[in-house]
Symmetry: C2
Subunit: 461 residues, 2 copies
Amino acid sequence: MTIRAAAKIAARPTLRPFVAVTKQFIAGALTPRDFLEDCLGEFANREKHVHAFVTHDIERARVAADASTTRWKAGKPASPIDGMPMGIKDIIETVDMPTEMGSPLFAGWRSDKDAACVSALRQAGAVILGKTVTTEFAATEPRGTRNPWNLEHTPGGSSSGSAAAVGCGMVSAALGTQVIGSTIRPASYCGCFGYKPSVNAINREGCHDYQSQSCTGIIAASLADTWQVAHEIVSRVGGDAGTPGLVGPDRCPAPAKPKRLAVLDTAGWKDTSYGLQESMVVMHRDLRETGVEIETRVTDAKIEEVETAIADAHALSNKINSFEVRWFLRGARDRDVQKLSKVMQTRLAESEALTLDDYRAALIERARIRARYAALAGSFDGCITLSAPGGAPKGLKSTGNSQFAVPASLLGVPALSLPVINENGLPLGLQVLGFFNEDARAFALSRWLYNQIMYPSTMGA
Amino acid sequence: MTIRAAAKIAARPTLRPFVAVTKQFIAGALTPRDFLEDCLGEFANREKHVHAFVTHDIERARVAADASTTRWKAGKPASPIDGMPMGIKDIIETVDMPTEMGSPLFAGWRSDKDAACVSALRQAGAVILGKTVTTEFAATEPRGTRNPWNLEHTPGGSSSGSAAAVGCGMVSAALGTQVIGSTIRPASYCGCFGYKPSVNAINREGCHDYQSQSCTGIIAASLADTWQVAHEIVSRVGGDAGTPGLVGPDRCPAPAKPKRLAVLDTAGWKDTSYGLQESMVVMHRDLRETGVEIETRVTDAKIEEVETAIADAHALSNKINSFEVRWFLRGARDRDVQKLSKVMQTRLAESEALTLDDYRAALIERARIRARYAALAGSFDGCITLSAPGGAPKGLKSTGNSQFAVPASLLGVPALSLPVINENGLPLGLQVLGFFNEDARAFALSRWLYNQIMYPSTMGA
């Protein structure tokens, strides 16, 4: 690989994988409390600069870590993530902390319950350090979180705090959500692994999350951590009601070398730099040299059809999302318009122009595009693209460009961001798109790709 | 018809239809404020006995009715239900009143927002008198509401207060929900029209409602009122996100005489009295005399297949519902088990025995049963059955038998309860089941049946 691995850059924030160290808990060489204290050290050093958390509770986390330590010492951990320090995006409800949704309208608001996913994580023994910063109502208005790789740059959004906290090892994993690019993009910008599941695959109940293509996402320090968090949630509370939920093994699927991959440009390609485009071409060449067939819109008609279909993914997603969240924004405006950002006021005004028939037509169009994408499944093991057009942009007023992330949202398919690219000293993700309800296969492919790119000399390609 | 119409019994609670009187608003003969005052008179007389409301706000309702009066006088009503007095089941969120869900765990709890349906109703000009009593978490534990037809009898549940309030004219319509029989059954017991839509057809967001076969239901004083409330919600906020929502005309569909109807016994038939069974047979004969073909499980093999498929509708529904709500009940238990009813504690314990694989198998079984029912659509205009095995049973400790109501819940199809039967002085509904997303057709059929049964002499049959 000619692209330097993010993890190899010296003096950078580092991820703190959890599942891989649990064998030390079993061996007695380390405890969940020790692990938490390392996280808290990072928290003490960085949080004052990064602002990843809205609310945190160190003492409660220590109590939970001690309970986990007791379970591991007794040889009875509640799950492979028992003791994992985690953050919860602040649009996801927690019984013991407010859920403010990045909005002054909900300052101090309490749901008096845990969301389904939080309930499951507590059962699995996760140690919840706090609620992580979200943009206003998980949309676009930032709330002050900074990128741990460079404090003058955005961490991305809307799962800003989750990505920032994981990106510098304050926690091993955090929950996010994604309806446009809110998990994949911040994961990419902060050098984390990011996972947006198949739509409905992780139970969303008890979240401020009312949109049909929205998903609970996971931002984590390793693929093993990512899979395990998803698995521990779904095995306890399922996917969204009425759906089968994430299907797959108890542990992260083993790496699987693909036979054939589709490269997607997406509408984001035009926004990437020439240098990055060149790097991607080199990456594709390197992958071909391992024996994987790599096709593009130029070489494969079906890919070209998909590219055409997703060219306006952002506009179509916005239309669907706007209609679906309109009732909520109306209520927010009527309570106190001064506490609703200008960008949300504008979005509401635009959505008021939509009719139910417009919305129904948009759903039919989305279904048509999904069917077109699904037709790739017979010929390809998955798709690859970037997670963003580059590293995190400078400035805190925007959460960045979501053109690469939105297709998987519109398509409802699993997407993973792998932190394998470095552009001018900032991390950038390679994005893997899978097929609907074949999330485990997307993980197996992602593991192979990650290993191949990061450790090519050990792969014997 | 040999069955006496409920509405003809003297000295009984009476319904207070709204849409039909709005022509008087236009003519200047009546105002929404006058209409509300009539409701408030009933409220003053009956509420102390009936206990239909958890929270009410008479002064706020008067302000809303006056605003509506101004709009009608200006010739600019917000909708055909502008000024309609309504109740909102207390599992549905309201920005201006607590949402207590029939549970001491949520005493005084505030969502700080309106549910989607409430937001739409306010836009349409509805006058919200208050929050109506629900059983605990819309399940089975009653909360003291009495049947206005006989205070010693249950109003049914879980939408107890909504049915009781509509049944005696304190409001023209009220929102309920149904996952087993929570709209159709109380509507039947209280002599109201009840409507459980096709699953997902009315937006449920902002409700304590996490189950895949659950629906927002409407209990109202006429079919016109019922349709209009549903239409005004869906035209403003759609169905559940990602679905087309209720499809149909701006006003209640015109009566349509069916060609062929299927009679469903359901598992409830064995619980009905001999006298009631005989009355139903007479009703079927009377309908045949109008030229409608009436088939039963004895005369039609497809109906027998459906009867067999829905025989265990209650058990399968309970399995699915239990898994889906388990995470919520776990949280309620962990907060304060003393504030969770024994019946809910037992339900939680039973649900803990279920695995995700059990749940997935139940979803597959439900889909199989739905497909079997859908096969009737080609041969029948709809199905008829009872809404309950009889009038409301005596006692307030149980909300009654739901065997007749549960099939439509499991099937996800529209169901209407028509108050056309009287059994020993108590009302009882005839239930009409339609086909998925053909709710307008079910209304047209229901209107014809209602007119035919209540006013046969005018039908020229």
